[in-house]
């Protein structure tokens, strides 16, 4: 396997081998972070376009950092500073980008399926930075990388994802990726936020938080999107916190080595208690650092980088 597929659109379509290859390369890039000079000249002279059709801070910065550390030329465009209007076709965007001969596209879009669409039209590699409620593969990979660093082989390990599963692309990418690596995934949230037929993706559903966390090795706590508004899916932030918030009381139920993840940005004292967010069980900043490494690995591999070259220490 000299290089990856053309695009990374979701973990659904990636094999366990591909996922592990990305993670191995990401570990090598992660090692570069501790050096005085953190960039490598792998992408010099190549242009990566970051197209964010939906507001994003963390993911966009993480991609930018990854691209900069690979010495790529970067063009950013987002809804706020472009002429996009509601209903405008992605096809026009894609054809323009194609004509400008870019080397790679990173796309975040509010519509599920938009990354697939762009990948079909564009000849350059496309990385999905989150499409609607569908997938967020780089988040899935960085989550899995963080778990693997602590747990090693994920086969048989128990991961509990808590929150608004229905609207979460993070949950879907976690479910696909963890499933391929043999982990046992449980999803937990109010029934209004757990979509029908989710079991068919190979997960267990547990509505009772205490039961859902009891045997877990990892809790992945999803961000409650407050902009969706309380009052329909759940009565209030206070009640959500009471019933599904990861509090000190919940942490006490965990296995001794179990740890807590959150994709950020956090709503303190809604889905996660502030003490837990700052406590010894969380690995949130590891996730952030791994995010840059995972994105570097994907960009490297999608631009034709040889997985073996890094192993010999040449590129890194």
């Amino acid at each position: 396997m000299s290089s990856l597929r053309k695009d990374v659109l979701g973990l659904e379509e990636m094999s366990a081998e591909e996922i592990l290859m990305v993670l191995d390369i990401a570990e090598r890039f992660r090692a570069v972070f501790d050096r005085p000079v953190r960039s490598v000249p792998i992408m010099r002279g190549r242009t990566v376009v970051n197209f964010f059709h939906e507001p994003s801070t963390r993911t966009r910065i993480s991609f930018e950092l990854a691209e900069k550390r690979l010495s790529a030329d970067i063009v950013n465009f987002s809804v706020a500073n472009s002429s996009f209007t509601k209903g405008e076709t992605l096809r026009d965007t894609a054809e323009n980008l194609q004509a400008m001969k870019i080397d790679m596209l990173v796309v975040r879009h509010k519509s599920s399926g938009s990354a697939q669409y762009l990948a079909k039209v564009l000849t350059c590699p496309v990385i999905n930075a989150g499409d609607g409620c569908h997938e967020h593969p780089t988040q899935g990979l960085l989550d899995i990388m963080t778990m693997r660093q602590r747990l090693g082989d994920l086969r048989g390990k128990r991961v509990t994802i808590i929150g608004d599963i229905a609207h979460s692309r993070v949950a879907r990418s976690n479910i696909w990726g963890l499933g391929k690596l043999g982990a046992e995934v449980t999803v937990c949230g109010p029934p209004t936020m757990v979509p029908g037929h989710i079991e068919r993706l190979g997960v267990k559903v547990e509505y009772d938080l205490k039961r859902a966390v009891a045997n877990a090795d990892v809790l992945n706590v999803l961000r409650i999107q407050l902009e969706r508004g309380a009052g329909t899916g759940f009565p209030s932030n206070r009640e959500y916190h009471r019933m599904f918030g990861v509090t000190e009381d919940v942490v006490r139920l965990l296995k001794p080595a179990a740890f807590i993840m959150h994709p950020g940005p956090m709503n303190r004292n809604v889905e996660i208690a502030s003490e837990v967010a700052d406590g010894p069980r969380q690995v949130i900043l590891d996730q952030v650092a791994n995010g840059v490494a995972v994105r570097m690995a994907l960009i490297y591999l999608l631009s034709g980088g040889d997985p073996g070259a890094l192993a010999s220490g040449e590129a890194a």
Binding site: K86, L90, G113, Q116, Y117, H134, R172, G196, H197, L201
Partner: protein, 440 residues
């Protein structure tokens, strides 16, 4: 005497055909004798009428012209999608001689003048009998009853706010009662929008997997149930448009058994395609009601087979390529269906063992005519000579070039279908024929 597609005489015979009548396909060769747009005679055998040219259509099935109770021709206001003329061409290519147009145009068909406008456009194109429905409410806003009486007098054959459900139960109840006076049905687009929310495909495994907001079956079932109960209470004729769920089929079946005056239609895509078709996010599989689960598809087919669902209607809903290039959640609902309806019926219902050919043809002819209470969908001596010639075993591939609609948003593009409409005649006049007709 000479008989050609180019010159259809005022009087002619079509011979050697298998006649589709009353749910049966004639075993013996039959004929149709047309004179001045009317059926002079029809029956078995091969008559020789002195001096009358004969078209030998050996092996083809001759059926009454098809009747579609549900099409969107978009005129006035959205002529970039379809016009009455272009829609009529698509209808003729699909074997239809009568179509019922929906009132969700811009402006909507909510007064007698607009009803006459659509009728006039239909007469002008001359390819199809275009029968408009009028809106139930002024502006299709669901607030005030439109002038149903004046519209009925102008030629409206039914009333519906199709595309938008009538949210107010009181308004729906009044419309049903009032329409009794006029002897026409109220068609319901049965959907509870408060349940559907921002849903854009069937709520099920695939919506969960694809991360798209779902449209629960309950939204259709609840609305179907409400409107049937209102029709029962008002003693009115309710026609349920585009039935897509197992639950709605069951609700209608029970209501019919209890004597409620309810009729129903189903679209070709709802008895053939499942929600898994949405897997690549193609808006060509985005319609309302959405494609549902295998058991729903089977229930719709069973409903057609046992008569719970009276007829097949296309819900022909043209949209431009640009609109259907949008992302799945942004693209408009709807697919075209006139050109493919019969073939989808043969391919999925007849080949699928659900209906025999004779019953399928009834779903396109007598049964929709009965829903409308119009003397169409049959070939009888003295009646108008609306008929089609069908090559029921012929396979063809659906391509953009095989479509006559102004739009190309078919859910069957690329599919090989069985059953072809070879020629369509409206009042004895040819409105469509395959480019190189190989008869028989």
């Amino acid at each position: 005497m000479e008989w050609s597609w180019q010159r259809i005489p005022a009087e002619y015979l079509v011979t050697g055909v298998k006649l589709a009548q009353g749910g049966k396909i004639g075993a013996r060769k039959g004929f149709l004798h047309v004179k001045k747009g009317r059926v002079e005679s029809i029956g078995a055998g091969t008559p020789t009428v002195e001096g009358v040219p004969a078209l030998a259509a050996d092996g083809l099935v001759l059926a009454p012209g098809f009747v579609d109770t549900h099409v969107h021709f978009r005129e006035p206001g959205q002529e970039e999608k379809e016009t009455v003329a272009s829609g009529s061409r698509a209808a003729a290519a699909g074997g239809f001689t009568t179509v019922v147009t929906m009132p969700n145009t811009d402006p909507p068909i909510d007064n007698a003048g607009m009803v006459r406008y659509v009728i006039d456009r239909g007469v002008e194109s001359g390819l199809c009998r275009v029968l408009p429905t009028g809106a139930i409410s002024v502006g299709r806003k669901g607030e005030t009853l439109a002038e149903l009486g004046a519209m009925a007098e102008a030629g409206a054959v039914a009333f519906t706010d199709d595309g938008s459900p009538v949210a107010s139960g009181k308004l729906m109840s009044n419309a049903l009662k009032y329409a009794r006076l006029l002897g026409v049905p109220i068609m319901t687009h049965a959907e509870d929008l408060t349940i559907v929310g921002d849903g854009c495909m069937h709520a099920g495994y695939w919506s969960t997997r694809l991360g798209l907001p779902g449209m629960a079956r309950a939204s259709e079932d609840a609305a179907t149930f409400r409107d049937i109960e209102l029709a029962r209470a008002g003693g009115a004729h309710l026609h349920v448009a585009h039935v897509s769920t197992r639950g709605s089929v069951a609700i209608i079946r029970r209501a019919k058994a209890e004597g409620v005056r309810v009729t129903a239609e189903a679209t070709p895509h709802h008895f053939s395609l499942e929600h898994s078709r949405c897997r690549d996010y193609s808006p060509l599989f985005k319609m309302n009601p959405p494609l549902r689960e295998p058991e729903d598809v089977a229930a719709v087919a069973d409903g057609l087979a046992d008569g719970t669902i009276d007829c097949i209607a296309t819900d022909h809903a043209p949209h431009t390529a640009t609109e259907k290039e949008l992302q799945f959640d942004q693209a408009p609902f709807g697919v075209i269906g006139l050109e493919t309806a019969f073939a989808v019926g043969v391919t999925y219902l007849v080949e699928g063992g659900k209906l025999d050919l004779g019953r399928l043809i009834q779903c396109f002819t007598e049964r929709p005519a009965a829903v409308l209470g119009l003397p169409l969908g049959r070939l009888e001596e003295g009646g108008e000579a609306d008929f089609v010639l069908l090559a029921t075993d012929r396979e063809w591939v659906v391509t953009p070039a095989s479509l006559r609609s102004r739009s190309r948003n078919s859910a069957f593009l690329g599919e090989t279908l069985k059953g072809q409409v070879v020629a369509t005649f409206l009042r004895g006049r040819l409105t469509w024929h395959q480019e190189e007709p190989s008869l028989g």
